[in-house]
Amino acid sequence: MNDEIDILEVDRIVESIGRDSASVIPVLQAMQKTFKFLPEAALRRVCEISDITPAQIEGVASFFSQFRRSPVGKHMISVCDGTACHVKGSEAVYYSVLKDLGIKDGDTDADGLFTVQKVACLGCCTLAPAVQIDETTYGHVRTDTVSDMITDFIENEANRIPRKFQGLEDGISMGEVRVGLGSCCVAGGSAKIREALEEELESLKCKVDIKPVGCVGMCHRTPLVEVVIPGEEPVLYAKVKPEDIPEIVERHFWSDSPFIKVRAATERWLKKLYTDEARNVPDRYSINVRDEPVADFLSRQKHIATEHGGVLNPSDMEEYKRLGGFKAIKDVFFKNDPGGLISTIDKSGLRGRGGGGFPTGKKWDIVRKAPGEKKYIVANGDEGDPGAFMDRMIMESYPYRVIEGMLIASFAVGATEGVLYVRAEYPLAVKRIRQALADMEAAGLLGDNIMGSGHSLSLKIFEGAGAFVCGEESALIASLEGRRGMPNYRPPFPAEKGLNGCPTLVNNAETFSVLPWIIRNGAEEFAKLGTDRSKGTKVFSLAGKVERGGLIEVPMGITIREVVEQIGGGVADGRTFKAVQIGGPSGGCIPASLGDTTVDFEALSEVGAMMGSGGFVVLDDRDCMVEMARYFLSFTQSESCGKCTPCRVGTKRMLEILTRLCKGQGKQGDIEKLEQLAKTVKGQSLCGLGKTAPNPVLTTIKYFREEFEAHIEGRCPAGKCAKLITYSITDDCIGCAKCAAECPVDAISGEPYSVFEIDPELCVRCDNCRQICPVDAVVVE
């Protein structure tokens, strides 16, 4: 390995970031940015010139998944394996990418051009399965479009302005605009609309996908345009005229990059998208719109954390102010009564939105009362739930609100220093928050003696380096202090003894973002929403097999079925609603039969799930519950910090059993063994990660035990587990040979225009053929 590096570069990095041992993570991040991996020589150099020790740097660099010790390819392909993408076939996409690049071992192709990795939620579940290549996101990727995607990327790359001149946001698709291209839409003038769209997006330099869609079933209202932004509710415009387009575009997409954009590339991109015949538009694009859902969609939600969504420009502090921003903090300073403030929050019934649901007021009270000169405040935005992206959206879209919330809380508890802990994988969130911090500092809303209140608060950003366990307060603090993200036994809780041994308030980003609303509207207004024990609203990432996914904010107490049917528009593709997975890897699968369960902390835990971080993934009859259990457990298992025995070893043993079951190698007694292990892991793990890791398994066993039994008998009722199913081609086959071309192992043969055949011995059940068959002649049994 070529370890020759520019030592001066290392020195510069350490110089600018810091020599104390707590700087280790930012230093590693900066070095990785420079060298694209962490050369050993650089690590050694850091130890020479700072307080960071070899043991520390080696321990930390190998703990966080962001850090790489070997060089990566020129471009990074991140295949999202978040829950939503997973249920929509990201695994197959991942293998297609590997196949397309001819990667057999490891993760980098022979030319060193691409490195492929699976990542937890990219935060754009509405585009599932999503793939990110460097800074470009591709949505709805299918095994048969992988090749096109890579070619497209390479072509565009050729036209790119050198990377360092690009704003972070450049290539990230900001969403998509769907234009009805059904015959009635075309008749209604959609071709003109499309031209107008292209022009407008081009002039704004926005990277937005234009997606032609088939008939949407509202032919009387054509032409139709639907704007889909990841994490936001899709908006449908009916009877659009070309002259409406600029307004629509401006309303949804802002362009805030001062840099020159890639004009040529964008042009080509759009043209290609529009003209590329090979790109089959998947069925799920046809929006089975009925008249009601649009209205219902809006009325069932309640926007508190996401107030002014779709209207508010995220980087415009003035606009935030115009729309009521900073009123709350002014009010708080004016009243100058931290105790009263805490009781207001207590009265509102607000509970932590990060998962555990600890009463926010109580937590504040502990921090306030904890003895200590110095106190810290931390916003936890290290969302790690593979199926959730609301922290990301909140930080990207409402940065001022989150910070205002932190100001309020810091005043209540007496914290003067703080950190926004943001996943490094969320560059846009980092950028927006950084901007917001700068704006607010400039406006005197952060810093010393804010607005003459006598209260001071300085905030900085800390980029999480990729460890789900850092969602756990004590692990988060460990990483802030420059240690491996391993939790400690609590008590003492961080509220008493946290960062640097000082009382530390850790709240989730979403929790902070509802505070201004509560102050402005009063605790009573907030407490009016929700149920007895769970007040207010909760933001969810609604994804999976629903018609409309996206970020939603609903009042507590809404039922699961209401969310699925009224907000999500029901299950997609005419399949049957089977279950929802709530709370991600800590939560559970709730069967459709319990669809009347309300969304509230206690009700969810009574059925074995939990509010968790806000993943809400809808599953249909084609989703195998054993496989779901395996998926979540494989996530927690790989995210286990490895400290305590039950979690480190127990989750591994559980995963082995689940993997066996999915491979048809289950044995009698496996279910009981799983239950026994689950009990140990749940009961004896050190931290929340382990204590909740068995939930997805326990709930699926509880509600779908017969599916587990079927797997032991060698059947997968949902037709999902590769080793338990066979693929065959029916007489409907038209002999187009597309399947044969797509099969990675040449298991399909036949004469053109006659019925093809699959060799079950060779078949690896990648599902490529079934996905590509234009006449649904490939069946699974």
Binding site: E58, F63, G642, K652
Partner: protein, 493 residues
């Protein structure tokens, strides 16, 4: 000062004390692996869980602070089974053998690798003693035993099994040139071979052993080692029982060994009809070690069955002696064997890894028995006696197969040329060595590398083990609760 109850016992502790501290105060034992006095608790093994009666929760005693009014249960069934689960999980990823396979297979459990290492280092006297201690009649067995141990010898995976039987015969057979005549040294240097003058003092209790076959002889010898007086009765004029019928056994070998046992303190009453009453009256215990007596029933009699496989008879004799010992001490009978971690069949690469334990360089110039013994792979664990994991696994009746792993980890030896050996497969990630090296200000030290199930302990930048443990090697080896960190050439047994 918080006051709490541990298993109902009141304990008053200082502010900030842990539940473990409180338990110690009232002499309640709580098993710990990752805990060490004077170190911040790691809270990783979770073996020390106890039940907080008020909440019903299991909490780690080493880290949970003692709170006023707390009520702690350290012994209830829930706690016991939780601890067993933890041990079973740890053992499910444990790669190592407490006992070597050869020892395991030998019915009499001769500590073969220990004996071989003594031979290798030219320490033939200790080798002979080990063989005597475990086999009673090692030279005799060296002629008649079919050597099942050699079938289990892992060296066979490299080339050929060690000739274990020949070696334990060679080191103990009086007439062999160059070996040690054990019974000669015995009278002069008995303290050297482990029988201290104290244990040789006249016994308060004595046991009659009926029958002088291999079972009887070994039973008698074991009783002597346990500190009893012992008389062996046989109607035959010479001791040896069925062994006397063996035609491939030179009888002088057997005679020598019987003599040796007599010198060691075993009394013989031979060539006269056995009076049961005499036996029953004059002794505190009685062991029948002959097949024809096995129907006779005496109150408090024990049986050491003879067996056509002499070494099996030897094993039976030892077991009977242990049973008598427990009985005479008023302890309930027990068949609790010490826990024994098993690696199973080794992979090709692992055998190669173990050959690192062999002193190949020196072998060339060694005399025959030494060179042969030096081929031993050292399959047994270097810390089989002090290992806390093994101790608790025995105590809690752990079962290594309770949560079987799909694939077991690799046998790996790190630092084989150095004073300290690290076996990652035995590491339970307690973090003690990481803390100790940090505290000692080691320049490199050791650290955890990786995350989750793949976490391992390593010297930073893959430097040599000795460079990571310049200051704190001894402290680390002593603190390491398992055989993961051990001195290469220090014997515990």
């Amino acid at each position: 000062m918080p006051e709490l109850r541990i298993n109902g016992l009141p304990a008053k502790v200082d502010e900030g004390a842990t539940v473990l501290d409180a338990a110690e105060l009232v002499f309640v034992d709580i098993p710990t692996l990752c805990h060490m006095k004077g170190c911040e608790p790691e809270t990783s093994c979770m073996l020390c869980v106890v039940k907080n009666v008020a909440t019903g929760q299991l909490i780690p005693a080493c880290s949970a602070k003692a709170v006023d009014g707390m009520e702690i249960d350290t012994e209830c069934a829930e706690v016991q089974s939780a601890r067993r689960d933890i041990l079973n999980l740890l053992l499910s990823e444990h790669v190592g053998d407490c006992e070597a396979p050869c020892t395991r297979i030998c019915p009499a459990h001769l500590d073969i690798p220990l004996m071989l290492r003594a031979i290798e280092h030219g320490n033939l006297e200790s080798a002979a003693w080990i063989a005597k201690r475990d086999l009673a009649i090692p030279a005799t067995l060296g002629h008649v035993c079919p050597a099942p141990c050699e079938k289990g010898c892992r060296r066979a995976q490299v080339d050929e099994a060690i000739t274990i039987r020949d070696l334990h015969r060679e080191v103990t057979e009086g007439s062999t040139e160059g070996s040690v005549l054990c019974f000669n040294v015995f009278s002069e240097k008995h303290h050297f071979i482990g029988l201290t003058p104290k244990s040789m003092t006249p016994k308060s209790k004595s046991v009659a052993v009926i029958g002088s076959g291999p079972a009887g002889l070994s039973c008698a010898w074991k009783l002597i080692q346990l500190g009893y007086g012992c008389t062996v009765f046989d109607e035959a004029p010479k001791a040896g029982g069925v062994l006397r019928e063996h035609n491939s056994l030179p009888m002088d070998v057997l005679d020598d060994e019987v003599d040796w046992l007599a010198q060691a303190g075993v009394e013989f009453s031979l060539g006269a009809p056995i009076s049961m009453h005499e036996a029953a009256d004059g002794f505190d215990g009685i062991v029948f070690a002959e097949t024809e007596f096995s129907g006779t029933h005496f109150a408090d009699a024990f049986y050491a069955e003879e067996h056509k496989l002499a070494v099996k008879a030897v094993a039976n004799g030892k077991a009977a002696a242990v049973a008598v010992d427990r009985f005479l001490k008023g302890e309930p009978p027990s068949n609790k064997e010490p826990f024994d971690s098993k690696t199973g069949k080794l992979r090709e690469s692992e055998v190669q890894e173990l050959t690192k334990n062999c002193a190949t360089v020196e072998q060339a110039g060694m005399p025959a028995p030494q060179a042969e013994a030096a081929r031993c792979l050292h399959c047994d664990c270097r810390k089989a006696v002090s290992c806390k994991l093994r101790k608790y696994a025995t105590q809690y009746g752990a079962n290594q197969r309770e949560f079987p792993a799909d694939e077991r980890g690799h046998v790996q030896l790190i630092g084989h040329d150095e004073a300290v050996v690290f076996e990652p497969g035995k590491c339970i990630k307690c973090g003690l060595c990481v803390k100790i090296t940090k505290r000692a200000g080691e320049e490199l030290g050791v650290t955890f590398v990786g995350r989750g199930y793949n976490t391992r302990v390593a010297v930073p930048f893959e430097e040599a083990l000795q460079d990571g443990l310049r200051e704190a090697a001894t402290e680390c080896v002593e603190a390491c609760p398992t055989g993961a960190l051990a001195f290469r050439n220090v014997e515990e047994r």
